[in-house]
């Protein structure tokens, strides 16, 4: 699972970076989206990969360590990050559309000249 997740994050980040460096605003928006997916998964993975673990311990017999529960903090962080990146992508998309209308071209510098 570690290998799958790590290579998934790497693939998303690589594809995102490549798209961000392209000269069309649509590609940049897509690249930012992929990058934010990679970041969100990365934040999520920083709480360690656990399957079937509870986030809050109710059983007093268990020692409160990460061996016995899933870390809820990254889950809360990733929720915040998803909302923020969603909103920011919307802003970037609106600007990109506006730029396309203003310049009649979707080059990131307006017109490539």
């Amino acid at each position: 699972m570690e290998l799958l997740l790590a290579s998934g994050i790497g693939l998303l980040a690589a594809a995102g970076t490549w798209l961000v460096l392209r000269a069309r605003t649509f590609d940049v928006v897509l690249g930012m989206t992929l990058l934010s997916y990679a970041v969100n998964l990365f934040v999520f993975a920083m709480g360690r990969l656990r399957v079937d673990a509870v986030p809050l311990l109710r059983d007093p017999a268990l020692t409160p360590s990460l061996a016995n529960h899933a870390d809820p903090v990254p889950q809360a962080l990733v929720l915040t990050a998803i909302v923020i990146s969603f909103g920011m992508t919307a802003v970037l998309l609106a600007l990109a559309v506006r730029s396309h209308l203003e310049h009649d071209d979707d080059h990131v510098d307006g017109s490539p000249r």
Binding site: V20, T25, V28, M32, L35, S36, A38, V39, F42, V43, A45, M46, G47, R48, L56, L57, R58, P60, P64, S65, H69, V73, P74, L77, T80, A81, I84, S85, G87, M88, T89, V91, L92, L95, A96, R98, S99, E102, H103, V108, D109, G110
Partner: protein
């Protein structure tokens, strides 16, 4: 609410008050009319009062910690105010007031949401200066950025939209890096509270050390993009030159947030000596490079706003140099320099805006011989005052700040390079500004075409009062130079030591409610 309990909430007020006011102004919308501007100004004055109150309460070296939601320190989000944060709060409030004053002329009519956006921007700025939590810092960065995106394109034109796309894309990329670094620190150290991080980075086991260092450098890249440090700062001039002048004046404080974050995280989280030998020289090199590049680029600027924008980038370089040197004296000098640089740059941006209006859209603030601007004597005087202040010539605030900063790097091993670059940059700016002044004012053509821009006095009353406020703030720095220098020297020692900040945040106890005794055994189990 009783006065004493309100006083306990004081650290939260600079964030909450503008947020609520922004929401109210947004709800008012177009119905607010001129009332919206008055309301916004009143709220900004209230925020300034809060900031001054915080500055006086922290002036003796106290660090005020505030636990949001009454959660104990490393678990909830903590805010903390020391001398450095309080200074930045006062500066941000003053610049926001100037921005609101200047916007009355023109911008507020074209963009009805302007007062609300300004409030949100100030809430984000203040939150970034106050928070003691790394993830919360990210959130406040986003709050101030999203407001700045909207402010930047509040006058839609080809240039501002193009600059907006660049600005948003660059900042989104920086935010992604910031988030990754914060997550990495959490994954290794298990906390996001900066005071708690500070006590854990020093004792991190050897195998995890590269991860912590990598996270620190990623944070440096993310903050460096926001502070417009050398290889990552080229977004700044086109963005600032495309923004409406009052917004560009407000943006003078925006790069300072990145600098604040570098100084805060660098001294607190990475304050341990074993990190400083990497971080210190790196920051010195970046600072010198940024300053030298900005000085050369300023010489090549072809309009006043671009020149002013490069001067903002140069001031970021100066502060990075001082933070990199990292002694209490140089940190104190950086804090003395920051308010001056912000006020001077904001004032110069506003003068450039007035000049562009007075010369008409054909010539704007480009360095071309155009018609003699209306009220040239007034504009010329303002230009000279702002130019001398920003370039650091006596008797203005820039000179005092420069003298203190040159003195503070003496005997630190980088003296020769620092003096050479700082003084060389000043010279370059004096040359660039003199050339600008002579092109804009002396080489102007016949007075017959002077009527192009109309009367500055009527069209620019708001901007003039804003410039007066900023210049007065700069003059106050000069008049009170002695006491302020002592205050900022103490602030520099406080920032360099960082122990008081750490203790204040981690030892702050949640408020106990006297009523309603908690039944035994009902407390939730805390893990970690």
């Amino acid at each position: 609410m009783s006065p004493s309990s309100l006083a306990a909430q004081l650290p939260m007020l600079p964030v909450v008050v503008p947020l609520l006011a922004g929401a109210l102004l947004l709800a008012l919308g177009r119905r607010g009319g001129p009332l919206a501007g008055t309301l916004s100004l009143t709220v900004l004055l209230a925020v300034l009062a809060c900031a001054v109150a915080l500055a006086t309460r922290t002036a003796d070296g106290t660090v005020l910690a505030y636990l949001a939601g009454n959660w104990p320190a490393p678990f909830g989000i903590a805010l903390a105010v020391d001398r450095f944060s309080a200074t930045m709060l006062v500066v941000a409030a003053l610049v926001a007031i100037a921005c609101q004053l200047a916007a009355v002329d023109d911008l507020a009519a074209r963009q009805p949401a302007f007062p609300a956006l300004l409030q949100f921007q100030l809430a984000g700025l203040n939150g970034a200066f106050l928070t003691a939590d790394l993830f919360n810092l990210f959130v406040f960065f986003e709050v101030l950025l999203v407001a700045s995106y909207a402010l930047l394109v509040s006058t839609v034109g080809r240039d501002s939209v193009r600059a907006g796309v660049h600005y948003v894309a660059v900042n989104l990329f920086a935010s992604a890096l910031f988030l990754m670094a914060a997550a990495l620190l959490y994954g290794v150290l298990g906390t996001l509270n900066m005071a708690d991080l500070a006590s854990r980075t020093a004792a991190v086991p050897g195998a995890d050390r590269p991860l912590v260092e990598a996270a620190g450098l990623m944070l440096l890249v993310a903050f460096g993009i926001k502070a417009a440090a050398l290889p990552l700062g080229t977004w700044l001039p086109s963005t600032y030159a495309a923004a409406p002048p009052p917004v560009a004046a407000l943006f003078a404080i925006m790069t300072k947030v990145g600098l604040y974050a570098i100084a805060r995280v660098g001294t607190l989280v990475y304050g341990d000596g074993s990190y400083q030998h990497v971080l210190g020289p790196l920051l010195v090199a970046i600072g010198l490079g940024t300053l030298a590049f900005a000085a050369l680029a300023g010489l090549a600027a072809r309009d006043l706003r671009t020149l002013a924008a490069w001067m903002i980038a140069g001031s970021a370089g100066t502060v990075l140099l001082l933070v990199g040197v990292g002694t209490p004296r140089s940190l104190g000098a950086a804090m003395f320099y920051l308010p001056h640089a912000t006020f001077a740059a904001a004032a110069l941006m506003l003068v450039a805006g007035l000049l562009a209006t007075a010369r008409g859209p054909e010539f704007a603030d480009r360095f071309e011989a155009g018609p003699r601007p209306a009220a040239a004597a007034l504009l010329g005087t303002l230009f000279v005052v702002c130019a001398l202040a920003s370039a650091g010539l006596p008797p203005f605030s820039g000179f005092v700040a420069k003298a203190i900063l040159l003195d503070s790097v003496r005997g630190e091993g980088v003296t020769a390079a620092a003096w050479l670059v700082v003084l060389g940059a000043s010279l370059a700016w004096v040359v660039a500004l003199s050339r600008a002044g002579s092109r804009l004012f002396w080489k102007s053509q016949d007075a017959g075409r002077a009527a192009v821009g109309g009367g500055v006095a009527s069209a620019g009353a708001g901007a003039l009062s804003a410039i007066a406020l900023l210049v007065a703030a700069g003059a106050t720095i000069v008049v009170l130079a002695g006491p302020l220098a002592r205050h900022f020297a103490a602030a520099g020692s406080q920032l360099a030591a960082s122990g008081a900040y750490r203790d204040a945040v981690l030892r702050q106890q949640p408020v106990r409610r006297p009523a309603a005794p908690v039944p035994a055994g009902s407390m939730p189990e805390r893990s970690r």
